[in-house]
Amino acid sequence: MSSAEKITVVETAPLKSEKPIILVGLPDVGLVGIISVMHLINTLEMQEVGYIESDLMPPIIIVHDNKIFEPIRIYAKDDLLLLTSEIPIPTALVKPLTRSIIDWAKEKKPKLIMTLGGIPTPNRDDIEKPECYSLETDDEAKKYVENLKVEKLTEGIMVGPYPVILREAQKKGIPAVALLAQAFDKYPDPGAAASIIEVLGKLLKINVNVDELLKSAEEIRVRTRDLMRRTDMTMQQMGKTQELEVPAMYT
């Protein structure tokens, strides 16, 4: 990778977290990760502490309250770090970006990295309360989810930034968990995000009320339509429909 293509994690405030838990919420199935982390940032009043900088990124800035933000940002509160993006991660950027994030994460000596997302569920509109599933990279990661009463993701195919994060974390010896809720694949799904947050509340031993999230579900579904459409296009480029298939190996 040339210096012009370098991906840098820029810290804008000192990170005092010791052995943090790092949550990752990126645009993916049903925007479950994004909706979950946005609710956590607002409810826990997390502060922006960094962003990702790279010439490989599209030329985009985000404007909130007349202030300029990078699309991929890091937030912190106590021993909780959170990485999120307001744009779909371009396919070509997934692997280099993920490696840079995991290199940065390793320096922070995290207890756990947890990705938050959705599992495309064809009969989602029949489901009142989506169930959560987990996939862990090692025994240490399994300890964090053993009492959370979530189903294990035993077979399947994962496509996109999250499986790359899991694999890179595994290679670097960082315990990591993918937490996934049953979700609409092409529509923003605040209900699935609420299921994720309820599980997270037990893991982090914090009380994050999801009532407000569910009350504003319709607003979220309207506001995130454009991001959902762009995310869907990016997911199609990555071959995301393979997540509805079953792996070929049977032994």
């Binding site: 909130h64 509109d125 609409f184 092409k186 529509y187 923003p188 579900a217 319709e218 607003e219 579904r221 309207v222 506001r223 339509r225 454009d226 959902m228 459409r229 762009r230 296009m233």
Partner: protein, 152 residues
């Protein structure tokens, strides 16, 4: 000789129809590409474009649409046209968010509107529509002529 000429003409017609279908597909793709550059709203018409999904099974075309703020099925108007489906749905209240873009936040949106291009001909008889948890689903049987072939 007459039969041969007709056969050639039929071949030409088939070729022309295939070309026509290719052009239709190409223009649909181009229109989709153009469309993606626009946000999912029409400020002048005060209408929002819903997210939709179109999929096919072996005997039907299924269109779903996400319609937040639509509370009553009577507020949804669906028209099946020759090659497309038109969906219009009134919202239960005008939609406008303070933290929206400079153009959008000056507009109150009252309706969802979308015309969906259908991938194949459908039979207007037997079309079923349901609306549950804010998701509209329209199942349309494909218009197909079936000929049973016996295995010898």
């Amino acid at each position: 000789m007459e039969r041969k000429r007709r056969s050639s003409w039929e071949q030409f017609e088939a070729m022309f129809e295939e070309m026509q279908r290719s052009f239709d597909r190409m223009f649909a793709e181009i229109l989709d590409e153009v469309h993606i550059t626009r946000p999912l709203m029409d400020v002048e018409q005060r209408c929002l474009e819903p997210l939709v999904d179109v999929r096919e099974t072996h005997d039907s075309v299924i269109v779903t649409a996400d319609l937040p703020y639509v509370n009553r099925k009577d507020d949804i108007d669906i028209r099946l046209l020759e090659k497309s489906l038109e969906i219009r749905a009134k919202t239960s209240k005008p939609i406008c968010f303070e933290r929206w873009g400079t153009v959008q936040r000056r507009t109150h949106f009252n309706e969802f509107r979308k015309t969906v291009k259908l991938p194949t001909d459908v039979d207007s008889e037997g079309v079923k529509a349901t609306f549950r948890r804010g998701i509209l689903q329209i199942v349309m049987p494909k218009k197909v002529k079936k000929t049973q072939i016996k295995v010898q």
